[in-house]
């Protein structure tokens, strides 16, 4: 009997596989394709205090082994989530983590005050969306910024607090320490890489917003490196994501130091990718006689 259960910052997940914010909606669409009960956790679409319209189209385009998006965090707001999506999600035997977005520190606090009253298992703070102009980018790109927001939220949130970091920084390990020092329970990394694609016939960027976030297998090596750096800089657990498509990718992140992982853009091309990843992890464990998945977390041996 193998054990795939992980205790991620107090969230007891039946396996380390979660689905990343913004790639799974609030779960309804993909419940047509997979059994949500099998997932370690569902991380919701980034949710704000009030409904948010999002950016003008074109919002997505394909790139080599990946894609760009500039959705602009279109979402129905936390009250709609509370009244409509959360009761529906709660019928499933999986953990629910609410991804919270905001455009300023005060708004993060307001959303998290409400989140603290909800029947959810944790909060993931999105300090890292590259696509919102009025957003709190500065909140996520410096040690002080991350520390200040995390500390302010910590005061109003008793539930497990995960801080999601942007890779668009010079030293992500230092940024992660900002979250840890302010009382975060976990880190998730990475969000998308700021990128641009130009239509050479029109001599214009393909995305209406000009720039967008790069995701998919193209960013996986960058993500693995950053997860390794973060895991070696902080004591709190790390949720690894960035281009994970299958069990082998997931194992790579776990060896680098991730205690849990998320499937992101992989959901877009295969709605069953998360389930296949769970199976792939179990398969790897059997092949390598691993009884407990926790034993491989950070087990990479550096050259």
């Amino acid at each position: 009997m193998i054990n795939t259960e992980v205790d991620f910052a107090g969230i007891k997940m039946k396996n380390p596989v979660t689905v990343a914010s913004g790639t799974f909606g609030y779960g309804r669409e993909f419940s047509e394709f997979i059994d949500l009960n099998k997932l370690g956790a569902i991380i919701t679409k980034g949710t704000f205090l009030k409904p948010k319209l999002g950016n003008k189209p074109a919002r997505v385009c394909e790139t080599a082994a990946g894609m760009l998006n500039s959705i602009g965090l279109q979402n129905p707001g936390i009250e709609y989530f509370r009244d409509n999506d959360l009761p529906w999600l709660r019928q499933f035997d999986t953990k629910i983590i609410l991804n919270v977005g905001a455009s300023c520190l005060e708004e993060y606090v307001e959303v998290c005050k409400i989140a603290n009253t909800l029947d959810i298992d944790g909060v993931e703070l999105n300090l890292s969306c590259p696509n919102v102009k009025a957003g709190c980018m500065a909140c996520g790109t410096s040690y002080e910024g991350v520390k200040d927001v995390t500390a302010a939220v910590r005061k109003v949130l008793d539930k497990p607090l995960i801080v999601k970091l942007t890779p668009n920084v010079t030293d992500i390990a230092m940024i992660a320490r900002g979250a840890e020092d302010a009382g975060a329970d976990a880190i998730s990394a990475i969000n998308t890489l700021l990128a641009m694609k130009i239509d050479i016939e029109k001599r214009r960027p393909v995305l209406a917003n000009n720039t967008g976030g790069l995701s998919g297998p193209a960013i996986k090596p960058v993500a693995v490196r950053m997860v390794y750096q973060i895991a070696n800089a902080v004591k709190i657990p790390v949720m690894g994501l960035g281009g994970i498509m299958n069990g082998d990718d997931a194992i790579e992140f776990m060896l680098a130091g991730a205690k849990a992982i998320s499937i992101g853009a992989g959901n877009f091309i295969d709605p069953t990718a998360s389930i296949k990843t769970i199976e792939g992890i179990e398969n790897y464990m059997q092949r390598h006689n691993i009884n407990d998945i926790n034993s491989i977390v950070g087990a990479v041996q550096m050259n």
């Binding site: 790639t23 999002g54 189209p57 919002r59 997505v60 998006n69 297998p217 295969d270």
Partner: protein
């Protein structure tokens, strides 16, 4: 409910140098497919090209469990798809899109399509004509070299007009001009359109002017095609709502009075 399935390519026809008609076998998909819906097709097992390709359903043969779709080779994704052989399996999600062509209560309809935008209109015309109602069809193409599937579409229409922009085949001019003339004399209950954006805008304006219900099938760059990425947004405005809707989920067919294109 959409399903993800590896389905057999049972028939492959090259209908122009760069346009292919594929017939795939899936009882489950054929059983539930509605006019206006589309498929998300994975063109490779590898990660490059990364995204699936959204392609509209052309024809459904429920008895045989066959779905037909037609695509033009435009880039490396569709090129890879065009290299598939009969007997091979293709990874498809479908049928997708909850916004489908709605014909309830209409006895006489007009269907207008342009270029490769005509493909989602076939199943609609077929079903409406089979139910004994009247289909007036208007198809527009750039010139005679672009004309495609004339006979197939003629069969599913009661009245059929084919026009080319330069008059090199069929009637001379834009298809919408013939639609406009006809509905001034003989009104229809609803107009259905799919094609290039300028044509859709003109149809939308015409329908508003004449106060005729109108449904547009839209195209937008898609990420997932299943509603989760919210990439394929279209502006949607009513008295109570001013928002973006998903072309892949609430669409691809929208009420022309509400959607902003």
């Amino acid at each position: 409910m959409a399903i993800v399935e590896k389905v057999e390519l049972v028939k492959k026809e090259q209908i122009k140098s760069d346009i292919y008609k594929y017939s795939v076998k899936s009882d489950k998909m054929a059983n539930q497919a509605k006019p206006g819906q589309f498929l998300e097709i994975r063109v490779t097992d590898s990660i490059e090209p990364f995204l699936r390709r959204p392609i509209s359903i052309h024809n459904v043969k429920k008895d045989e469990g066959i779905i037909e779709f037609i695509f033009q080779v435009k880039g490396k994704g569709t090129e890879l798809l065009s290299e598939r052989k009969e007997g091979e399996l293709i990874d498809i999600i479908g049928p997708l899109g909850e916004g489908t062509f709605n014909t309830n209560g209409y006895e006489k309809i007009a269907i207008i399509g342009g270029g490769i935008g005509i493909f989602p209109l076939y199943e609609l015309a077929k079903q409406v004509k089979e139910s004994g109602k009247t289909v007036n069809m208007y198809l527009g193409f750039r010139n005679k070299d672009f004309v495609i599937l004339e006979n197939e579409y003629k069969e599913v229409a009661n009245n059929f007009t084919l026009a080319t922009d330069d008059g090199s085949y069929g009637e001379n001019g834009f298809a919408i001009n013939f639609l406009k003339d006809d509905i001034s004399k003989n009104p229809v209950d609803c107009i259905y359109a799919c094609g290039p954006l300028p044509m859709l805008k003109a149809v939308q304006a015409l329908a508003k002017e004449k106060n005729i219900p109108c449904q547009l099938s839209l195209e937008e760059r898609m990420g997932c095609g299943m509603g989760v990425c919210i990439g394929c947004a279209v502006k949607y405005k009513t008295e109570t709502e001013d928002t973006f809707k998903r072309v892949c989920r609430e669409g691809p067919v929208f009420d022309a009075n509400i959607v902003e294109i």
